[in-house]
């Protein structure tokens, strides 16, 4: 267990991430999601909006952006200010560092992204509807895959947020919608497809089968974490990118 996970690193990272002033901002997209869902529930005449709103706004905006901020800061913030050397000087395996930090990111993304998504679903369609449960499962998948990618990015580059954003806007936003082949390598499609497997709703705009999504999601997550840990194990401290 200690080769893969270190509870001390987990707790320290959790405290450090939540202790920042920016942590409050994380709740903002989630609050907007819940607020608009409540407003629409109160006023909309038609029942077709929940999958569209919760699917598009939740899975292309709230979840990826929450994961981007959290996933790049669990490891990136320490690399940025140089304090990561103290952590890397301890005899904790680099894989354990990566996986522990990744776990913090997943837990926090579930709290700030997946749970609000579920609550919005409860407001819109009720606590046990297929859509709500599907959204919760899909959101959990999104939290895992996105954070693995962003933790890897912050081990690879000092400008993880910029590259993560470029990836979200260009790859997930543009190519995955236009090019069918890109869907096979899209974290958004994995999560939507898992949600769709439970909800069976074509408005979710999911294009992969459950099996493909699950297998590809696992492969991408493991590969990203392995690559991140590998990069971290030959880590050399640099100044800020000029």
């Amino acid at each position: 267990m200690t080769r893969l996970f270190n509870p001390v690193v987990f707790l320290v990272t959790l405290r450090a991430t939540l202790g920042r002033r920016q942590a409050l901002l994380l709740a903002l997209p989630a609050l907007i999601l819940i607020g608009v869902a409540a407003l629409l529930t109160a006023t909309a005449h038609s029942p077709v909006w929940p999958p569209e709103f919760l699917g598009v706004f939740g899975f292309t905006v709230v979840l990826p952006l929450t994961a981007l901020i959290i996933g790049t800061s669990v490891l990136g913030a320490e690399i940025d200010d140089g304090s990561v050397v103290h952590l890397l000087a301890t005899p904790v395996p680099r894989l354990a560092v990566t996986v522990s930090k990744f776990s913090v990111a997943v837990v926090l993304t579930v709290v700030f992204g997946a749970v609000p998504e579920y609550l919005a679903g409860v407001i819109a369609t009720g606590a046990t509807s297929r859509l709500t449960l599907g959204l919760l499962a899909g959101a959990a998948v999104a939290a895992v895959v996105y954070n693995a990618l962003f933790v890897m990015l912050s081990a690879l580059t000092t400008r993880a947020i910029a590259f993560g954003l470029l990836y979200l806007l260009v790859w997930e936003g543009l190519l995955a919608n236009l090019v069918a082949g890109a869907r096979l390598l899209s974290a958004g499609q994995y999560s939507l497809s898992v949600a769709n497997a439970i909800a069976h709703n074509s408005s979710l705009n999911a294009h992969l089968t459950l099996g493909t999504a699950a297998v590809m999601g696992c492969v991408v997550t493991v590969a990203a974490l392995a690559l991140g840990a590998r990069r971290l194990s030959k880590f050399s401290l640099k100044g800020e990118a000029a």
Binding site: Q22, V36, A44, I69, L165, L169, A242
Partner: protein, 312 residues
């Protein structure tokens, strides 16, 4: 407060200004506020495009500029090859609109922090304010420079589009009608540049960490843009009495995002090309007010931000 005023007065007179920062002696002529602002603005404009810095700093500005020009280039090639004289890209909406918004968003998120966050991060503001510039001069110079940078990004593709079209038309009246169509496009582009630059700089100036500055700019523009489009689409089919009439939600959702507000204002002012939001109809004036509010909030917020920035 009174001490601040006398300090500013003294600074304007040239007294009480620290010139010798213990680095290098200089006793030549000293230039005033105007030249300082000009130099600061010119430097900021260059840094918005990564000029004077390494190749890595130029990737995003060059990439965004090239992609922004793509529709204009496609238009020019299509006209030249097929021999038709009808422009395929409108000047006022510069379709695809999503491309313009996305490219502008990436540019703002990547380059606005370059313009303001670096100075915060390296604590050089005390050095700037030790010179004979006033508090408002610094943000104004930065804002002017970044508006100019956005103008380059938005207007140059329009001019490429114009040149690509005009070189293919035969008659003088066709050239004149192209020119008349271009002018509102350029004015609208200026409004886009002003609003986007002001809000982008405001959000970027909140954090000295470039990562968080990038994140907050992107989250603000991306979240509001997606929300506005989504609520417009929901308002069109989930509300309202009939299918032909967009409901109040569809007409008002565009107020959420600066980009959709700009498009609503375009239609209010008489633009007829279809845009990302439906014709606001009777709510048109609200869109004009919204654009003005976004602009004032961005510029005013930036001035306020630098009134109380730490100088110690």
């Amino acid at each position: 407060m009174s001490a601040e005023i006398t300090a500013a007065g003294a600074a304007a007179n040239g007294a009480g200004v620290i010139h010798d920062i213990g680095y290098q002696a200089y006793d030549g002529p000293r230039l005033g506020r105007a030249q300082i602002m000009l130099a600061l603005g010119w430097h900021s404009l260059k840094s918005a495009f990564g000029i004077g810095r390494g190749a890595k700093a130029k990737i995003v500005p060059v990439f965004t500029f090239a992609v922004m020009c793509a529709p204009a280039v496609v238009n020019a090639i299509q006209l030249a090859v097929t021999g038709t004289h009808t422009r395929v890209v409108p000047y006022d909406t510069y379709r695809p609109v999503a491309l313009r918004v996305l490219v502008l968003l990436i540019f703002l998120a990547a380059q606005a922090p370059e313009v303001v966050s670096r100075d915060l991060r390296s604590h050089v503001l005390p050095l700037y304010f030790a010179r004979p510039i006033r508090r408002a001069d610094y943000p104004l110079a930065k804002l002017a420079a970044f508006v100019a940078a956005c103008l380059v990004l938005i207007e140059v593709p329009l001019l490429v589009l114009y040149v690509g079209t005009v070189t293919q038309v035969r008659t003088g009246s066709a050239v004149w009608s192209e020119t008349r169509a271009l002018i509102p496009g350029l004015l609208l582009g200026a409004a886009w540049a002003a609003v986007a630059a002001a809000l982008g700089l405001l959000f970027a100036s909140f954090s000295s960490r470039r990562a968080y500055a990038t994140g907050s700019v992107a989250i603000f523009f991306f979240l509001t843009w997606t929300l506005a489009l989504l609520l417009t689409s929901i308002g069109e089919h989930a509300f309202g009495p009939g299918l032909q009439q967009p409901s109040a939600l569809a007409r008002l959702a565009g107020l959420i995002s600066p980009f959709t507000a700009l498009d609503g204002m375009r239609q209010w002012l008489g633009g007829t090309s279809p845009g990302p939001v439906p014709d606001p109809g009777g709510y048109g004036a609200l869109y004009g007010i919204a654009v003005l509010a976004f602009l004032l909030a961005g510029a005013g917020g930036l001035l306020l931000r630098y009134r109380k920035v730490g100088v110690a």
